[in-house]
Each structure stands twice: as C-alpha cells, then as structure tokens.
Symmetry: C2
Subunit: 449 residues, 2 copies
C-alpha cells in the first residue's frame, strides 16, 4: 500500500505535531459506535493485512515529490518523511472474534504523529473486512451447515474490496471463492462453475454441457440459461449418456423459484439414479432467502452468494471510529454531542458460563476484571510479534470457535441483545477526562473577552 493512502489532514497534522514537538505517546482506539440494526454482533477482521502494511510502511521518493508540490510542507518535514517508520505497538482482538458496539477492536500505542498518520489506512482496511465478515457470518449461519461460496468479485467495490472481501467471507465461514487472485493471495480454495455466455455461445445447451463436462469431469453445470428443468433433463441425458456418459458433480440454478425448482430438479435427478449429484443455488441471495429455503426444506446443497454479501447490502458501512483516547499519559475525550470516547488503554473481558458468552465488560487495560481478556499485543515497536502472525485458516478457526460460544439467539437472524458494560474504573476515568476537558474550555485563556 502506498503511504500516500491517507487523508490530507493526517499530513498537515503530522507536520504540526513534529513542529510543536508533540511526539509523546498516544493511544488511538478503533471501535464501532453503533451496530447496524440487522447485526447482533460483528466479526473483527482485517488485522493480519493491516499489520503487514504497518510493518512495511514507507514513503517513496515519488510520494514525497508529490507532497512537495502541494505548497504545505517544508523541506525539513519532507526530508523526515523519507525515514518515517511506524514504530508503535498494536493491541487487538484476534481476527474472527465477535465484537460489539464500543468495544476496542484494535488500539495503537505510538508516538502521536505515527499513530495519527496511519488512521486512514487502518480504518479503511479493518472497516471493509469487518463489514463483509459480519455479513458473511449471517449467510453462513442461515445456511445451517451447507457450504456458502463467495461469488461477489464483480460487484464488490473495486479490486481491493473483492480480494479482502473474499478473505473476510472465508474467515467468517464461507467455503471458497470464485476470485482467483484472492484465492492465490490468501490461500482460499478457488471454485467456479460456468457462465450463461458459455451456453449461449454453443449451438445448443446440450453441446455446451457435453463439451464442458468432457473437459472438466465432475463439473457443475448451469442449467437455467433457457429453461431450468429442461436444462436438468439435458444434464441427466448426458450423464446417462450410453457409451460415453459425462460425469457431473452438481447442477446450478441461478434464477426462478429456487424452492420449487430445486425440489423438482432433486426429484428428477433421484429418479434418474443420480442421488449424489448436488444442487447449487445462486442469484442475488441474501441470508433471509437462504434461511427461507432451508426452512422450506429446499434440497439445495450449496449456496453461492455474491453482491449482497460482498457489499453488505443491508448495512453497507459501519460506524467505525479511530479516536485519540490518551496523549502524554492523560485520557482524552470528545464532548461533542453523542460521541463519548472511552479514555486510555482498554481491554474487553468476556464472561462465559458453561462455555457460552454471557456478557462483556470494557475495562481499563490494567484493571483486574473477571472474564477472558480479548485484546492482546500483536505488534511491538513496529514489528509483528512472533505469535501474532495468524494465518487465514487460524482466523477462520477463531471465528468458528468464538461464534460457537455466542448464545444461539445472537447467531439467528432475529435481533437479540448482548450485555456490554463499562467497568467502574473506566467510568471513573471517563468522568475525570470529561471534567478536565470541560475545565479546559472554561479556562481563562479559552475565549474570555
């Protein structure tokens, strides 16, 4: 990632901080203020790639040359950027951990200028992955054990989102992706069927099925280009095939009444002796449609989901923030309407009973609390810690394990509450920081006369 991927004010503030000698330690907290209505929890995602970006953070000469053209930065500052490194510490919940409103997902402890400069990068990258992982977790829950596959690359927002979204969906339990670059980058199984265009380009559907399945034994055939059940019939004929039957793993239904069509297709396949040929469904599915199909007993073995998972269509953004929580040893809060900040370094303590989560407490980092602490140190002085290099497979396991410990109501598609409270110690720290901020605004130098 180019180090210029930042809002302009990060650079002007950086130069100001350096000029003012404000390089003491700061704590920045990344969290989501409010959960979208249709989310009982979020799946924290994106930490791994962000840590790699922070470790590799450098300005190129071209970056610095561009900044020089803006007329805002002096030569000494631009020279300092050449050697700029991120040398902070990072504390975070492991990727795949379910989190709730106001809970720190990540905290940066770094000299103020460094912690500030990486704001845009960290927010952007954690946001998109947490957003898509949280949506994907609902799809996976709705499918109740049937594989969910990411087919969303074409309508996710850009190539970065398509790759990171495939990663996020996989961590949240999706089984594979159609996006080959994401599969390569992140070690996700790639998967694919065939497009309508392939059928259309051939003289008949049957010719297309035969050519494809002979080349790719065990292929999945897309049967709805002309008429779904005629397509299933054509597939069956070819599987029976006489001298040279073709071998097919599944048929894919991409349009129409998927409950009725899958039932009819299942019956046709079973009666023809192809009980092991599976049925794959796709076509604008969301978690409610999947849950409806599952509830109606639709004999669909695999759900391929694209756009609605890939853009988190019902909640396409999270109210994510990256806030200064402490500077030079003093907690900082913002008083403006409705946006309280929890000061200082924090920890999330999750209490479980009989292996199931019953409530979280957000406390100060060093405050003894019952419950399992979720944040841990993952980066020290700008280097990823040895034990913190989680693979995508690790994160996927974390997500499965941690989600299994959430109450079933939370994992359903119905709204369900989960108790999160602020510890007494942290409440006291917040009150103290708020008082200090109020005193500052009414201090003699703050606008009298």
């Amino acid at each position: 990632m180019d180090a210029l991927f930042a809002d302009l004010y990060e650079f002007t503030m950086l130069q100001a901080y350096l000029g003012e000698g404000m390089e003491a330690e700061a704590v920045f907290t990344l969290s989501v203020r409010h959960l979208p209505e249709a989310r009982n929890y979020l799946v924290a995602c994106g930490l791994g790639p962000v840590l790699e970006e922070l470790e590799a953070f450098r300005f190129t000469d071209a970056d610095i040359d561009y900044l020089a053209t803006l007329g805002l930065f002096d030569a000494a500052f631009l020279a300092r950027l050449k050697g700029f490194r991120f040398e902070g510490d990072v504390y975070a919940v492991p990727e795949g951990t379910p989190v709730f409103a106001d809970e720190p997902i990540l905290e940066v402890v770094a000299p103020l200028p460094q912690g500030q400069l990486v704001e845009t990068l960290i927010m952007n990258q954690i946001h998109v992955q947490t957003l898509i992982a949280s949506k994907a977790a609902r799809m996976v829950a709705a499918a109740a054990g049937r594989p969910v596959i990411d087919f969303g690359a074409r309508r996710m927002h850009g190539a970065d989102a398509a790759d990171l979204g495939a990663r996020a969906a996989f961590i949240a339990g999706a089984g594979a992706t159609s996006n080959v670059r994401a599969a390569q980058r992140f070690g996700i199984p790639p998967i694919g069927t065939m497009a309508h265009s392939y059928i259309q380009a051939h003289e008949t559907e049957r010719t297309a099925f035969e050519a494809f399945a002979r080349r790719y034994p065990g292929a999945t055939l897309l049967v709805d280009t002309i008429d779904t059940l005629q397509g299933v019939k054509a597939a069956i004929e070819l599987m029976r095939g006489g001298a040279q039957p073709i071998e097919v793993t599944a048929v894919r239904l991409d349009s129409g009444d998927l409950a009725a069509l899958s039932a009819a297709a299942r019956q046709m396949l079973d009666e023809a002796g192809f009980a092991d040929v599976r049925i794959v469904a796709s076509g604008g599915l969301d978690e409610y449609q999947i849950a409806g199909l599952v509830a109606r007993g639709a004999p669909i073995d695999t759900y391929c989901v694209g756009t609605r998972m890939g853009v988190s269509s019902d909640a396409p953004y999270l109210d994510i923030t990256y806030k200064l929580a402490e500077y030079a040893g003093r907690g900082r809060v913002k008083l403006s309407t409705g946006k309280p900040v929890l000061p200082g370094r924090k920890q999330v303590f999750r209490t479980e009973q009989a292996g199931m989560a019953v409530g979280d407490v957000i406390g100060s980092w060093d405050e003894p609390q019952p419950g399992r602490p979720l944040l841990r140190k993952v980066m020290g002085k700008g280097r990823i810690l040895a034990g913190a290099r989680a693979t995508v497979a690790d994160a996927r396991r974390t997500c499965a394990d941690e989600c299994a410990r959430l109450p079933a109501a939370l994992r359903s598609l119905e709204p369900a509450p989960y108790p999160v409270s602020v510890s007494p110690g942290l409440e006291r720290a917040r009150a103290a920081a708020r008082r200090e901020a109020q005193e500052a605004v009414t201090a003699p130098d703050a606008g009298a006369g």
Copy 2:
C-alpha cells in the same frame, strides 16, 4: 491490476473455448438492468482506468505458476497464457455521460475467449465508479452550486474503492478529495482541515487552533470538539488576536443541529467582522440532508461528504451485467426468467429538443435513428484510440454538460421517469434471436427421451 483478478470460471471457459476452437468474434454488452429506486439516472464512470488495464493486460510467471497448481489447466493452455493479450475493440459512452436502464455503457467486440476473460475486471471497475459517480451527482445537485468535497476514504470499501470513488465523485462534480493518493493518481485537488484528535492532544482548543493556523495561514478550524459555538468564539478571538491575529478561511461544523449551529456561527462571525470566513459542514451527510439544509437557508458554504457518498449507502450496488450479445455473427439471448438480453452490437440515440434530452432509443449499431449517438469506438485491436484518452477533467466537463441537458426533474431528488425505448430493428433482432434459442432447446438433440 493482476490478470488473476477474475472469477475462476473465466479461466476454465477460456481453456474450453480455445480447446474447442471457438475463437470467432463475440460482442459483450455491459449495462445495468434496473436502476435503484432512488436514482433517476446513472453517471457512466470508470472507462479510462479500464481501458488502461485492458491495454496492459498480461500474465506474470507467478500467475501462471499459481494456475498450474489448480489441476485444471494443461501445459499448452498455460503456455498460451504467457502471450495472452487483449486485442479487442471497445465501444463506450464517454465517462460522465448519464445513462439509463438497459442502455449499453460499454461493448467489447473481441475473439470470444478474450471478451470472456476480462468480464470480472470490467464489471468490477465500471460498477464501483458508476455507482459512486451516480450517488455523488445527487449530492452535487442537492448542494445547488455549493462545493461538495469527498471525505470518504476511511469507510469506502478498501483502498481501490477509495481512490476510484474519489475519482468518480470528482467526475460527478465534487470539488476535491481528502484522499492524497487519489489526488496524486488522478490530478484531483486534495483538501483537508483538522481532526478532533488534534484538538484533544493540545491542552486547550484555543492552543490547538492557534498552533495550526499559525503554521497553515488560511486553515479551516474544526470547532465542535467540545462545544460548537464556544469553538466559533475561540476562533473569533484568535482572528481578532491583538498583535498577531491568525488568518482563517473557514470553520467546520461536524455534529449537532447543522442548520441552527451554522446560522448562529454565521451571525457570530458576521458580527465580529468576519463575513468572509466560510462555514463548512460535515458529519454523515446525505443528499436529503444537504437539500434540507439548502432549503432552510442554512449559511453553509461547503459540504464535506464521506461514507454515504462513498458507499452509495442507500443503493450500494447496481444490477450491472456483462452479457454475450453476439457470437460468430449471430445474436444471442438468454431466456431465463426476467432477464432478456438485447442481441448484437448496439447504439444509444439521445433525442434533444431545445438542448434538453427528451428520450433515448436503444438501437442496433448500424440502424439509422434520429438522435445523437452516445457510444463511440475507444479501443481498436487492444490499443486505446488517439482521441479516446479522456482526462478526469474532460470526464468532469462531460458530466456537467450532459447533466445540464437532462430535464430538471431528473436532476431532483424526487423520482422522475425518462423514456427509453428499443428500436424496431433491435426488437426484430431480439425476437429472431429468441426464436433461434427456443428452436435450439426443442431441437432433436436437446434432451428428447
């Protein structure tokens, strides 16, 4: 862009097409089937970067090595990928052109395997930019001449979306972006104010204002960290300043009742003799809020919009498709429920009366029709045509000019219709292609028995 950024089936179909000798010319059409409810038109966007990607399309050895691991591709195919180039022609509407449902935004005319392989890339890149440009056009219209600034990088979906989204918003009329990398890549003016964290890190708001404005004369001060009107008062005190007054261009309000606060701030500034200090508003704004503030006469000079523009929050995806419309000189259609395809190469003819658009006709490419043709050839045999390298500034002018020719009702936030019809010649071609497809499905080899 990595050539692996494609769905897996593009590669399996590619190998199949090459193996079957199906390399005749194909036409693929990119269009949007249905407009989102709250969009009267879309702003076509993304062509420039896509053409550059197509021209540079290459496989690296690492790409080919990865594909080899999948067990799907033979050595001859992988060897052919080494020399793979996109050598097709592309026809498209100029970036910034308003388009409607079913209208071709872009058509690829290329050997079938080439036209197929670039599907994911073209769809993904045009989708995100058209999506965000279309939303941004509404923000710009709502602001009724006041500048609209892109502040969305942190919550757009990934870094690619943040850059391309800044570009799309600028083409649709936004005045600047906070995203420095996007500014550098696309020649967009970068802009920035200051963050709450900067205020919080200082002992008092006043100290922060003073330090920042002395370093950056003409800065915009963020006044709502503690209390908005107290913040305005602090800014005024410093601008009056006695011996060394600071110079401020604007104050930014980021929370609270923006109509009331902007009115109060305006009055305070005017009474203090700072009638030329502007008021900038931000904080989760969408086009309806902007229109409401404008309607109430809120004295806001500039609107900074982030998330809701950057993710097109009310309509976070478009029903965009890339469909095979012709192969080997024959129109192709898909019969499956509700998804008709217009066959062959097409043109959009826009009829204007007294300089205002009154209706479009989608016709066959070579069919004489009244009205101004919108698609033109932009790439020939894989090379961008000399006249087709539009700059971002060109596209922005196109958008302004073309949108000015739309009826005012379409540019409002209220739903308004616009007549788009299919020409008689194209209707005949569609009927013929449909007949052919139906004959194919009932042909003797298509599943009898």
